[in-house]
Symmetry: C2
Subunit: 342 residues, 2 copies
DNA sequence: CCGCCTCTTTACAACGATGTAAATCCACGT
DNA sequence: ACGTGGATTTACATCGTTGTAAAGAGGCGG
């Protein structure tokens, strides 16, 4: 069966608590005793029962990360970074997929996992800040990637509006006149989310350049997948006066758009320039290489974990905070064309 | 504070055990009592303490999934499917990243997480079957994606050799004469792994067609990332007599190779045909669309979870089994060219 | 040689849930 | 009215660990 402190204690001929003290590096243990216990620990290959420890201490060393889906490279990369950052604190990460469903997000946020987890990092799609008002009974929570309007919840996010504006401005600076946007969503759920913020940045950039928003250039998409981008691009190309540039609200949409452009035999960026958002690995190897806006992903993950650690330690003693991480505009072939190559 | 069975019991004016019985749907509870307890449960918003439950029952309802990294789409997609399949059994998945390091794989396999997890699904890169010999103390284990030679461990895998052979044969059937392979690895760790099996399939296909293996056409790669594929392709194109087709041991390598070919201005498949392995989403939208071998991923995930459930239930009472999942050859533009399009 | 302080070790209770076995209730047949 | 057997409820111990408080062991100044 499993090895318990008691078994080790028997071998080392000390009390259970002394073994516990050795395991936990308690100061006042005679070196000789410590050595004897260590030997017994090794001999029996003791491993603490985390459930018992967690029950006793009220903390488990496990945090949860809830993302819409791991199938999207952005979230997969993010999950990887979070797992990494958590490991550095000795924490383990339990991954939940919400599929962007309000119910699942709510369930997760209100403590789906019983008292198993010490905290939660949630990347919300559907829920608004208000919905996530914390009661003091709930799990410590940090939100990712979305600016919650005044919600009393810690969160880490890039300045979506500014980043979207930078991307759009980049297209305008290249001299493009009909700059479309792929990523608009009108469902109530999405109204306060990433879609709305990036939309605002896009429209602000157009306004600053003296352009009106042309509704036909901002098709709605049901999701943010490659297929959605491909279909939206098809629709745009069916217009009497199609766009000469497209800002896609994430890289997957952009990759889908590139695919459609290739199918139609259009040249990128000559006929249509394309820029995405997220800087996922795929875009660095696509043909053509995808221009994008790169949020500081490593920061997002580590800041979120740090913030959560702080929230766990101080519970309700401190007001909700917001961390803004930086972003970079990364122009590549899909807006600049081939450079320096034959 | 947290709501305990005791608090609910006090409100409902019954014993703690009766509340527990209601929570667990025990048969013999008077409907009237049950109703009263239910009401109290709802009123206090009771949630079981999973640590306590786990301590008492010896099972936690949490399984671990250990993959090299979530950054690789294949593993991300797999993780998503496993989380899904586990959720259907009411299990939660704890994701570990091994980075393909022997130490991490060993640590995970020998029960890194203490008694927190009920079982482990491991996708090994570095470790051989022998290393993973189970002792009865260890966590129930299911291996993914690799045929362990005779190791007494449950595992789920595609027939890598047959699949690799099918991919290679597909290239030969197109009339290609110099078929390269990207994905060879010679490190001892990898000797029994996926690399070796796919290599065997590749060589078998060549042999069946009466070709010799040309060492210059099988460059070694340090990893299985896009960058590795891009570099290997560069090396191949530097040969006096470059290949007219390439079988890449996974889709990322293939996507990297496509990128290099585009940079050199070579046409795919006209100049060089490319086929990958894994059928990740990226390949369906790449330019050109990537031909590949598609393992039955959904089966892999659900079979692994089923197998683990069975292993958990029966522990050592049953011999190690092996589940073979099917695969499909999926020819797309990177070998067939544009079809049906203008 | 005593008392006190520090170092070291220990016994015991507690974390919250559930299995066991025993207690209590109730309806029914005699 | 009484015994029997099933339904229902309960007290208690237990899972493995750690905090608390107290006991035991030495050492030192007075």
């Amino acid at each position: 069966m499993a090895v318990r402190l008691q078994d080790v204690a028997a071998i080392a001929e000390v009390s259970v608590k002394t073994v516990s003290n050795v395991v936990n590096d308690y100061r006042h243990v005679r070196p000789e005793t410590r050595a004897r216990v260590q030997a017994a620990l090794v001999e029996l290959d003791y491993r603490p029962n985390l459930s018992a420890r967690s029950l006793r201490q009220g903390r488990s060393g496990v945090i949860a990360l809830a993302v819409p889906t791991l199938d999207m490279p952005y979230f997969a990369e993010l999950a990887g970074s979070v797992v990494e950052a958590a490991a550095q604190r000795g924490w383990t990460v339990l991954v939940d997929q919400t599929d962007g469903l309000p119910d699942r997000e709510r369930a997760v946020a209100t403590g789906l996992r019983g008292h198993l987890i010490d905290g939660l990092i949630l990347s919300p799609v559907a829920l608004e800040g208000v919905e996530l008002q914390r009661t003091q009974e709930d799990v410590p929570l940090v939100l990712l990637g979305e600016k919650i309007a005044g919600g009393p919840v810690d969160h880490v996010a890039v300045d979506n509006e500014a980043a979207a504006r930078a991307a759009t401005t980049h297209l305008l600076d290249l001299g493009r006149r009909r700059v479309a946007a792929i990523g608009y969503q009108s469902s109530a759920d999405a109204a306060s989310g990433v879609a709305a913020l990036r939309r605002r940045g896009y429209e602000a950039a157009l306004a600053a350049a003296g352009h009106d928003v042309d509704a036909s250039l901002t098709p709605e998409v049901p999701g943010y997948l490659r297929s959605d981008g491909a279909e939206a691009m098809s629709a745009l190309l069916g217009l009497p006066w199609p766009p000469d540039a497209v800002f896609c609200f994430n890289d997957l949409l952009a990759l889908g758009a590139l695919r459609t452009l290739a199918d139609r035999g259009l040249r990128v960026p000559d006929d249509v320039a394309v820029i995405g958002f997220d800087d996922v690995e795929d875009g660095r190897y696509s043909v053509p290489r995808l221009s994008t806006v790169a949020p500081a992903k490593e920061s997002i993950a580590s800041d979120a974990v740090d913030m959560l650690a702080d929230r766990i330690a101080r519970r309700d003693q401190v007001a909700a905070r917001e961390i803004r991480v930086g972003f970079d505009l990364v122009p590549r072939e899909s807006t600049l064309g081939r450079t320096g190559q034959p």
